[in-house]
Symmetry: C2
DNA sequence: CTGTTAGCGCGTTCAC
DNA sequence: GTGAACGCGCTAACAG
């Protein structure tokens, strides 16, 4: 058997070995591979031939990244489990935009989840920059560690953090606009279905406590927006952005006595679920119940209605994050970005059947 | 301003600086951080204090991975664009299982796409091991490079590759079983809706040519399985595993003269799309058209029917891949795994209205 | 328990 | 255009 011991040379050849065989110095061989310097065609050819003979696959990425101080890897910090995060089509769209933009500069996206690897591990990742997605206060430790390392950070829809480039969405204003639209139609009893408020994705009635202790930035912002129009609006906290969760929420909200005449869901999938719940309860949409979603997901065929919703530029958010990273890595100081959602009226809202009662309820 | 130039010490402190300040040797400081060796409590405390004073965030991941020869990163090679790959819930389930199992050993999953980064880049990633997903022959270059580097490889549902641990699904047999089920009911005119056959996701009639030149391993296997029962079955190649694609396929297949009495879709989402197409054409399922899917996705609410399908253990596939990687990294030689799908009869198949005509058609 | 030494594999000076 | 030398930051051996 031909192996390390019998041949006397290392099993995995290194650049030095290739250089030796090619009869050039290591630095010349290095230049031949990286192409970032003047090498004679002859020398390059000899190096490449030697590499082939030794079955050398090119410079070791680890050594190269140590020497260069860059790994080419962009970290994506996700708080949820992958399964949960990827179930939301908006996250996927964002990742796609991000990959699009960062693909040019590096190797790939490194998925970092808080639960999988502890904050220790997450901050010990060999990334050149990191994007924080759907983050809450729990990420503080990781953020601090990244900062100490001097790793540029971009946060998408997160509370403002010093030194972290913010890519935001007008969640509050968009939600206020939705609420205003419903108020304009005459609705007074309006309820919300929110995205998860805590890291455990506890679902249930939206209480003062759950709202106060919320770590879900986007969800909280959207609640606040609605509250600007309906200060006392109640709601249901869903365990995730899924149709079934919306149905559960809908059943809970619509089964009570003084049921709402309109429901504002924080995602389109939740809204579809609410529509299902309404149908199951024999309520017509929008005659008996107005429903508005959020996201602007293409729902053709999934829901029979043309859902009223706030269309958000998810892919663009990812792209902006990617561009931000590139800028930061280039030593620039990119401006924060706030994206604007646009209202799609659809056909799932209408004047309430019994308009203008007094106040809102939960 | 206090900076590098004025203080004379590097802006980012390194382990040596910390050790110096703590009055211990670098190796002692290293042990204090990694915890993998005997260090006196006093020494550790001094090191930690020094680290805090210097705002040192711990050992540099790049240097550490060079020295240790391991980065703690597992690569996931995806052929598609992220958007396409993640649109298929099976892929997400797999990734989840993979992350679950590999979370223990490392930092995270590095998403590598062929289109984003070239084969050069992809093989230059500092990964300890890699999982190939939905790969075709186009990945050969990357595979070769990984092999040269001695990086353990696991392939999920891929053609057999020497030295690559295979995690497989009984696609062929499962598809044969579906076909046999339909044959048993009396169906003779059966058509397929397949997953993409080429990297560009070209959709259209399934032709001898597209079939022959297919790079979609899973799709081809499933076609072969069906062909064991219906050798002449025709079909439609979808551009992806999405409901709308299924609808398009259904419309194409069902609009012709001698329309099939049963359609075998290669995913549940496609099957749902076909159901929609059937409904749009006024065909009843299963009375006028039997439909079978694949995957065993939970479709509650998305489709009114209880879809007949082959339930595949997607999360388990990911888990098995993860365990395989762990084994390979430990120097073991894990056995390949072949998972078995189980048939869920549902209520979307029935005897054909006009049974037992002669042969199949396209 | 701690310190010393010696690289990991490469890229980058700076001379020639 | 090329080679020699050095150091990136850390950790595995050993020696004390």
């Amino acid at each position: 058997m031909i192996d390390e011991a019998s041949t006397g040379r290392p099993l995995r050849p290194n650049l030095a070995a290739v250089a030796a065989l090619a009869g050039v110095s290591p630095s010349t061989a290095s230049l031949a591979f990286s192409g970032s310097g003047p090498v004679s065609a002859a020398a390059r050819a000899r190096v490449l031939a030697a590499a082939e003979r030794l079955d050398y696959a090119g410079p070791d990425p680890r050594a190269r990244s140590l020497r260069r101080g860059r790994s080419g890897i962009v970290g994506v910090v996700i708080e949820d489990r992958l399964r949960d995060a990827f179930r939301d089509p908006m996250n996927i769209a964002m990742l796609d935009g991000l990959a699009d933009e960062t693909g040019s500069l590096g190797t790939g996206l490194l998925l970092l989840t808080e639960n999988g690897s502890g904050a220790e591990n997450i901050a010990g990742a060999p990334v050149d920059a990191a994007v924080l997605i759907g983050c809450s206060t729990r990420l503080d430790a990781s953020v601090a560690a990244f900062r100490q390392r001097g790793i540029p950070l971009v946060a998408i829809e997160a509370p403002h953090l010093e030194g972290v480039l913010a890519i935001d969405l007008d969640n509050r204003e968009a939600s206020r606009a939705i609420a205003a639209h419903l108020a304009g139609l005459g609705h007074r009893r309006v309820a919300m279905v929110t995205l998860p408020l805590d890291p455990d994705h506890t679902s249930g009635v939206l209480t003062e406590k759950s709202e106060r202790e919320s770590t879900g930035f986007t969800a909280s912002e959207r609640i606040r927006g609605v509250r600007e129009v309906f200060p006392a609006a109640g709601g249901w906290v869903a365990a995730g952005s899924q149709i079934e969760e919306g149905t559960a929420a809908g059943l809970a909200l619509l089964s009570g006595e003084r049921r709402p005449t309109a429901i504002i869901a924080q995602s389109d999938l939740l809204a579809v679920g609410v529509i299902r719940a309404a149908e199951r309860l024999g309520l017509r949409v929008p005659e008996d119940l107005s429903i508005v979603g959020f996201d602007g997901l293409r729902l053709d065929g999934i829901a029979p209605h043309d859902l009223a919703t706030m269309v958000q530029p998810a892919v663009e958010k990812g792209r902006a994050a990617g561009r931000g990273i590139i800028g930061l890595l280039a030593g620039e100081t990119p401006e924060p970005v706030i994206f604007t959602s646009t209202f799609h009226p659809g056909n799932t809202t209408a004047r309430p059947a019994t308009p203008a009662e007094e106040t809102t309820e939960g």
